[in-house]
Symmetry: C2
């Protein structure tokens, strides 16, 4: 059967902070909902707490993508796994008394985790030393760099049930272009430049049925007394031969939605080709120069000095994010991963709103599409391209 | 100079949940404030978030004691260390712009962590794979069992700066009686029975000055024209010879405060001798049988079946905690580590209050001293014994 389009693609921000959490922003985590499934991107400390307070369902998490193994992006992974996978040993499975069910007991597919070298070893060692007994399987596939070992797990600790053997995925032409097979979406990734190995992910919905205009087809179907139900085949782009020999061709398929989610970076240019024309680009904007807006601005700072300091730490400014969005012709830009100095309660606090609006404005100096500043618990749909 | 008594001993509950967190209880963590210093006992996920919302100061944390390495007791340790020790690499130190200072830059003493075998390896591997660059030193001392190796770090990963070499502390007569030297308090520990190696800690203030009755001394001082300032020496228990040859002896020192903090256990009897006469006993009470009070009670459950199930998971009921408090002649019992089914908002919710009062009542069936049920952010002083 031809691939279907997704009923919806929704992004929920579970954490939009860089480094330390604040009362308004938590560590990095995004939930991408593809129909009923949830894919998590990064998992900072207390991501499961964020999920409990959001409308994202823990039991729906099927895949977790880790952009890099810095603590503020992975320290919530082990406790989340313990909760998702009915971990006992401290993380007691209490489902027998009808509480705290995670929904994973019905799962046969392992939880799939993708990340750079070290993701598997971090998880395995953490699970081992914490005596965590997971009640359901998981597997870690690593996106390895040409300088990484092709084989091995980067730890001397052997795998232990229920960890399943993961793949070490090597690059093809500088990217990981075929991460796993799927009938509805494809995922590709490429390295992006940061202080440690870091990855950007591009999730692309496979081509979806083209727009069909009934006027082009219905007269032929009526003329030949063909049942209207063949419209469904035509809608899928198939061809139908009518009783009089006429061949109707359904409309050509058109591109599905494309979402590019980048980890921390001061230069994501290796992912340009993969991310071109993304309907949504998620790009970090850790630090900004906001004279007369941010009262903590130092007198001797200039945009140049702030950009230089931001880059030296492996990060980006809103202008850098905007320039990259323009370069890949993104339809929409989501700024993310803000310094804790930029409070995330801009929906209710005037001071925070002024600062986040200024940050948005800086990105719009470079990019003329819509720009959104991430706020924890913000949730929105990624629309089909027109 | 003779040891002083502490200005105050205060316990703040940062997390009182077993297993998974709920909206009202977080994973295990207690902060014991000894004068100005903070000692943390266990550090479940999001303990630093709890600290941010409490009146405990992160920069005051000097020692962390881990009862056992189950995830719900240690998954907050790495992110807390990154924040306490100016960790960069994801956990960016932003103090240069005057924000997010942790106060640890003035530290010369390393953060000291005590826990069972595996604590050091858990921390070292987690820090390594997450590229966490700590800006201040730490050291992990392990309380090892007779069946544990005497030497080695339980990982093939070598130590890396700023980790300092830790001690492997072996038992003497079944306990760890002299964990570190201190002029004000002593800490001892003993194994307690759980599903994995687990420790109970006993913090004892060194003997403090006895109660002095001025009537016993002042007439002698007046008669011999001795300055009243010698009362300070007498108060410390010293002897003073007066001009007429009379020797005044200050009152004998009396025991200081004693706090016993136990990890998860179904039988803590190996710590009885150390914990005797504790002014405060912190004991878990994970599960309770509450017919007619807890609507989730199963019809065919009895106290015996609940106790058997609780023990089989390595845990205790309120009655078991009460019986142990009686056995060690504790002055006060704090019940802790509750199943997530027992909501922790009993200060504002009538239903929760009913359940927590019932749990308290079960412990009081066995123990006739005061019983408190832990609630997150609850804070109280441990008073000097009368």
């Amino acid at each position: 059967m031809a691939p279907q389009s997704l009923s919806s693609v929704n992004l929920t921000i579970l954490g939009s902070a860089s480094a330390q959490p604040s009362s308004t922003r938590n560590h990095s985590a995004l939930a991408l909902r593809l129909g009923g499934d949830v894919w998590l991107f990064d998992c900072g400390e207390a991501t499961q707490h964020r999920i409990q307070k959001s409308n994202v369902k823990m039991g729906r998490i099927k895949k977790i993508f880790i952009t890099h193994t810095h603590g503020d992006h992975i320290f919530g992974l082990l406790p989340l796994m313990a909760s998702c996978l009915d971990g006992s040993g401290g993380m007691v499975n209490e489902s027998e008394d009808g509480r705290l069910q995670s929904g994973s007991t019905e799962e046969t597919q392992p939880l799939e985790i993708y990340g750079p070298l070290g993701t598997r070893a971090f998880i395995r060692t953490g699970i081992f030393y914490s005596y965590t007994n997971l009640g359901a399987p998981y597997v870690v596939h690593e996106l390895r760099l040409p300088t990484d070992p092709v084989d091995g797990d980067y730890t001397t600790l052997p795998p232990r049930s229920p960890e399943l053997p993961g793949r070490n995925i090597m690059q093809t032409n500088g990217a990981w272009t075929d991460i796993f097979p799927d009938e509805v979406v494809s995922v590709a990734a490429a390295p992006i430049l940061h202080s440690v190995p870091c990855v950007g992910f591009v999730v692309t919905e496979l081509p979806i049925p083209g727009k069909i205009d009934p006027k082009d087809y219905v007269p032929h179907l009526k003329r030949t007394n063909t049942p209207m139900s063949v419209m469904r085949q035509l809608q899928q782009g198939e061809s139908v031969e009518l009783s009089d020999g006429t061949i109707l061709k359904g409309p050509l398929r058109r591109p599905g939605r494309k979402v590019a989610i980048l980890g921390d970076t001061y230069d994501p240019s290796p992912i340009i080709d993969l991310a071109l024309d993304a309907d949504l680009l998620v790009h970090e904007a850790t630090n900004a120069h906001l004279p007369r807006v941010d009262p903590n601005t130092k007198d001797d700072d200039t945009y140049e000095s702030v950009e230089a300091r931001t880059k030296s730490r492996g990060h980006s400014t809103p202008q850098m994010a905007g320039a990259f969005a323009k370069r890949i012709r993104a339809k929409r830009l989501l700024l993310n991963h803000f310094s804790a100095r930029y409070a995330g309660n801009d929906d209710v606090d005037e001071e925070a709103k002024k600062i986040m609006e200024a940050i948005r404005g800086l990105a719009m100096q470079e990019f003329d599409g819509p720009v959104i500043c991430a706020r924890d618990f913000m949730s929105f749909d990624v629309e089909l391209p027109h």
